[in-house]
């Protein structure tokens, strides 16, 4: 019994001496990173952690600024006011960048290119907005051209959208895996030449990796996007297709796309919304 007590006492002393000698500085970085990772969804504790010491700033900012949303031009103004120097702003921590309308970008003025370029690690880019001018997106796309080499997915949810300019933007991201377009309709812009300064550089590029998912839910059907994909040099290797059919041609194009991705396609979602399959008005049986 006495031996057992001695053993427990020595264990406790060992435990207390360990914690007395262990300070924040000599905890391994991996462990500290792990603590910050646990708090990723809790903004207030993360902000408190950010104040612990300078060494804690990067590991907490990685989560605090992981998702950046600019709904309006005012949001951007606020960002620029808080972080006037793009080169030392926390933009480099952002993994997801969401922009609500092109005015957010064009409002950036002459420095718009600088602040966009400061988002160097963005993997998921989402652009949205309704009733905006297609010309506004044309300007925005030119600024986004090759802006983050780490881009893996692009999600477009806007109308109108100049498809041709958007396709050029897509080609500038070689690591792109996922493409998601919904509620968009094509709004061609008259200048069909090199006025946007991208055509000559883009022609030399092949398709991005496209090893993820393709989501197309467009009023005019999957045609414009799928036809463009199928005419590009390089192979498509999507693992997931989610397509909404709006016309009969969409069925044929889906079949061609499935054949093209036959070695990789694991998941398929098809939504049949074709003329002739309209909803029948139900009448109660009496």
């Amino acid at each position: 019994m006495a031996a057992l007590l001695d053993h427990e006492l020595s264990e406790r002393m060992l435990y207390h001496s360990f914690w007395a000698e262990t300070t924040m500085q000599n905890l391994p970085n991996e462990l500290l990173n792990h603590i910050a990772d646990f708090l990723r969804d809790s903004q207030a504790p993360l902000r408190n952690c950010c104040l612990v010491s300078k060494s804690w700033i990067p590991r907490t900012r990685r989560h605090i600024f992981a998702n950046i949303y600019f709904q309006t031009a005012k949001d951007l103004e606020s960002w620029k006011k808080t972080f006037p120097d793009p080169s030392i702003s926390p933009a480099c921590y952002a993994k997801l960048l969401w922009i609500g309308c092109p005015q957010v970008i064009t409002a950036g003025g002459a420095e718009a290119g600088d602040w966009i370029a400061s988002f160097t690690s963005v993997e998921h880019l989402e652009l949205g907005g309704q009733d905006t001018q297609a010309r506004g997106w044309e300007v925005a796309f030119a600024l986004f051209h090759r802006f983050s080499p780490a881009i893996k997915s692009i999600r477009m949810k806007m109308s109108p959208l100049p498809f041709r300019q958007f396709f050029k933007l897509v080609l500038s991201f070689p690591l792109l895996e996922d493409l998601d377009m919904s509620d968009c309709y094509d709004a061609p812009i008259d200048n069909d030449g090199d006025s946007d300064g991208l055509s000559s550089t883009v022609q030399a590029l092949s398709l991005p990796m496209f090893t993820g998912s393709l989501d197309l839910h467009l009023d005019e059907g999957v045609g414009p996007v799928v036809r463009w994909l199928l005419t590009q040099p390089g192979r498509i290797r999507f693992r997931k297709l989610a397509l909404s059919w709006a016309c009969e041609e969409d069925v044929s194009l889906t079949l061609v796309l499935m054949e093209e991705c036959s070695h990789t396609l694991e998941s398929l979602y098809v939504c049949c919304n074709l003329p002739g399959t309209f909803i029948r008005h139900l009448c109660p049986h009496r």
């Binding site: 989610a242 909404s244 059919w245 009969e248 041609e249 069925v251 044929s252 889906t254 079949l255 499935m258 054949e259 991705c261 036959s262 070695h263 990789t264 396609l265 694991e266 998941s267 398929l268 979602y269 098809v270 939504c271 049949c272 919304n273 074709l274 002739g276 399959t277 309209f278 909803i279 029948r280 139900l282 009448c283 109660p284 049986h285």
Partner: protein, 134 residues
Amino acid sequence: MFLGGPKWTLFTLSKAIKLSDVVFRLESQRVGWVTMALKTVGREHRDLQRISIDVPPFLIIIPAHIYPDVGRAIGEEDLREWLVLDQSLVHLQESRSIHTRVIRPWSRLKRDMVDCIGSLLPESTKRGMIELVG
């Protein structure tokens, strides 16, 4: 019965042999195209584990006490398409152990949904093959 019909009835899964998960989203009660697609599932689709049917809201709000006869409610021809689909699902379950899910938009209508699906896919429901998710 679909030969020479619209193109969506010729939709085939035969080339996509790596598929593991397929979702058919319905925008009407017509399901002939789903059945035709499922008939192209062959032995080479070794990885196929799950087929989901995403049911539109208008279809699941057919309460049994208002529409005791689903055939009359949606039309005999459309009901026939559902019954053929039912047979295909039973066949896939028995021969390939492919799981079937019916995705419903509103959980509060579960009882009506069960009644409705039970009328449209009677054999699959009777055998307890259908998983309702929402």
